[in-house]
Amino acid sequence: MLLPLIALIGQSVAKAAEIKEEALTLSPSLCLVSPDSSRCDIQVTLSWSTPQPVCIELELDELHRWCITEPTQKSLALNISTESDVHFVMRDPTTNQQLAEAVLRVKPLSEPQTRRRFRNPWSIF
């Protein structure tokens, strides 16, 4: 009864290790935007270490896909213009299986909110 469960756990651990090995690194992974301009315009670099060819996909208005066939190429630089988070997915070009993913987070740079002060702080009653 326990054997299938142990086997499943074993497979999960192995898969996790495999994904970690083929991790997709995004730099930078955070884009801060000013309150008056909510759009993020940034160049990001995706890096990976997997030996096989890969395809990089991203959903930005429409689906974009870059397939890297040169085995020595282990990174890809992209210019991104977005108002929301962008998900990058690395796939095996032959099986289309997802190998890894990375996310570019877009966050507003919040300035301290101030308001009028109605009383003189040093008023003598």
Partner: protein, 287 residues
């Protein structure tokens, strides 16, 4: 009563426009505060708040604290609790409460005096001078003047000539059932590290307030209780505050206020001054 009607009309017309949401309208023509965090500070120096009451001593000032918190709508500012109904580029309308300033002359630890830290014996009544007995009948120990809180509405109007404040407040605790109207003009000017505030004000006090604080009770003096009749009246005065910011935390401070009491208050036999002043010169630290 005409004064009250005019203030009520002005506040009412402003309230009818109070439909838009608050927006960030702080600029360099007013003092600004960070929303959602406490502003704590303490000024150390030397100053005096005069006491116009006969035989009462002036109040020395060595410490002047400031405590304020402004949320999105609610605010607490040195004893005044308020709620902003609307804040626009040109005006603000608040529901507001605050201490009555008159009781502070009678009691050292009146809440209005909490923000003035001086000698605890400052208001101790000295023996009544007897040299004037024959001309002015003496007044015995004063009865209690109870603490109360005033509440009402205030409006701020902003333009290039400064900030106007109009407020109408009523006794909230049924102590004297009086009303107070306040009109104040303030001009804020800042350049680099220096900021200056000039202000002129008119405070209208109803007959109930004047009578409660400055009227004479029969137990205090049978003669004066019959011969002094309180009426409503206008106090007037000016204020000046200068600040020089040495660092983000430290600033040099000079603040002064002069008040000319309404004739009906100055005529009270409890007073021997028809005006009052307060000032402080020192350094302030903001936490």
């Amino acid at each position: 009563m005409k004064s009250f009607s005019a203030l009520a009309l002005l506040l009412g017309s402003l309230f009818s426009q109070a439909v838009m949401a608050a927006e960030n309208t702080c600029d360099d023509t007013t003092d600004c505060i960070r929303q959602g965090s406490w502003d704590l500070g303490i000024a150390l120096g030397y100053g005096v708040k005069s006491n116009p009451l006969k035989d009462y001593k002036d109040i020395p000032i060595y410490v002047l604290p400031t405590v304020a918190y402004y949320g999105e709508k609610w605010f607490f500012d040195n004893g005044a609790l308020g709620y902003t109904l609307t804040e626009q580029e040109r005006f603000t309308l608040n529901l507001v409460t605050g201490f009555s300033s008159d009781r502070a002359y009678f009691y050292r630890w009146d809440p209005s005096n909490i923000f003035l830290a001086g000698s605890s014996q400052a208001l101790q009544q000295a023996p009544i001078a007897r040299t004037t007995w024959e001309l002015t009948p003496p007044i015995g120990p004063l009865e209690e003047r109870s603490f109360t809180y005033l509440g009402g509405m205030e409006a701020y109007i902003y333009n290039r000539f400064g900030t106007w404040r109009v407020a109408l407040l009523h006794d909230l605790f049924d102590v004297h059932n009086g009303m107070e109207g306040q009109i104040k003009w303030n001009y804020h000017w800042s350049h680099q590290e220096l900021s200056l505030d000039f202000a002129a004000f008119l405070d209208w006090k109803s007959q109930e307030i004047v009578d409660y604080y400055y009227g004479v009770r029969p137990s205090e003096s049978a003669y004066w209780s019959l011969n002094y009749q309180a009426e409503s009246g206008w106090n007037s005065g000016v204020e000046f505050t200068a600040r020089y910011h040495m660092t983000p935390e430290w600033e040099l401070l000079m603040t002064a206020r002069y008040t000319r009491f309404a004739d009906t208050i100055a005529d009270s036999p409890l007073l021997d001054e028809d005006d009052g002043y307060a000032y402080l010169i020192g350094a302030a630290y903001r936490f």
